[in-house]
Amino acid sequence: MSLPLAVADQGVTLAAGLSKTSDGEAFQFYVLGAVAVLGALGTVFAKKAVHSALSLAMTMICLAMFYLAQGAYFLGVVQIVVYTGAIMMLFLFVLMLVGVSSADSLVETIKGQRKLAVLAAIAFAVLVMVALGHARLGTFQGAGPANAGGGNVKNLADLIFSKYFWAFEVTSALLITAAVGAMVMTHRERLVARKSQKELVEERVRTGKRMTPLPTPGVYARHNAVDIPALLPDGSVAEDSVNATLQARTPVRDAVGLTAVTRENMALPHQGEAPELENASTNGAAE
């Protein structure tokens, strides 16, 4: 990273009106430019939203490198800290909140939208490229005169806190408004008051369904894993000892096999040898 920077600075100080960058910067541009375009394409075409987010983060880091190479040191660092650090992580948080697997619907609500979008994108690209190609962009001054004196950060601060001071103050109001707005929008109002422990107890007794806590998984079973139901003293399976979420996600392991093993064990006289654990587990696995 330091090589293109140094070369760029040198080139700028040597020739005020440069029309050509240093070879190091050109190399950096072609390599990172390809990566940035790949990342942008990944953002658009990735099936999973998480992959889109990571591709976008890659593109943003490439852009930060471009800023640094062009002498915009402050913006380069801000790009990494604010964009890839804060904003993309916010995106990832919301992705986790909304559900990673939320797939795109493939139904076209507007007929032929995809084809039209491709056409519009190509037309726009051609339009902008041709316009840029024909524009009289003038000679490059380089970052030298802008960064002269106190350097990039100090000069930028001078501008922001003098000429653009009012705009800067307004952005602070904007940020506060946005933060408060986000809190208001995501705040969920409680429709009913939260029940106290006393009310919960009374309700439980009144309905009379189950007053004790649920049995813990694995009790009296051969393993104490959370997905193995407890066995009741008579050897039957306590289905409600396994968490409902776990039951929904994976088939609860081998309740019947374990019951059989436990029955056998209980039938054995106490002074006899302890039955072998290996058999029990292989039985369970085969079940």
């Binding site: 913006l75 964009y83 909140l97 797939a103 939208q113 840029l132 802008a146 940020l175």
Partner: protein, 99 residues
């Protein structure tokens, strides 16, 4: 290398972002494509700043970043609250105001 290439790259990135906004349905991905477009414009601003040897472009890019941060915060809050009520992050499903 001609420094104008930065401008062409940024135009390309902007186009890809706009294309993504047009074809994707997942609101979060659409939002990320908007961010891509904003970033592409920032690259243009920085390049012009270097071209003219003037820091104004960088100041504008800086303000763009601030506004983008505010926009992301509000936009994601909207997406989350829409998701809570409609159980979907698809932009096609939010059509109650259509008729």
């Amino acid at each position: 290398m001609n420094p104008d290439n930065y401008l062409f790259l940024s135009a390309l990135l902007f186009t890809i972002g706009a294309f993504g906004v047009l074809i994707r349905r997942n609101a979060i991905v659409v939002f990320m494509c908007v961010e891509l477009m904003l970033n592409a414009v920032n690259l243009t601003l920085v390049t012009f700043s270097r071209m003219h040897g003037d820091l104004t472009g960088q100041v504008i890019a800086f303000f763009t970043m601030v506004v983008a941060a505010a926009e992301v915060v509000v936009g994601l809050a909207i997406i989350v609250s829409v998701f809570r009520t409609r159980r979907s992050a698809s932009v096609d499903d939010a059509n109650l105001l259509k008729y």
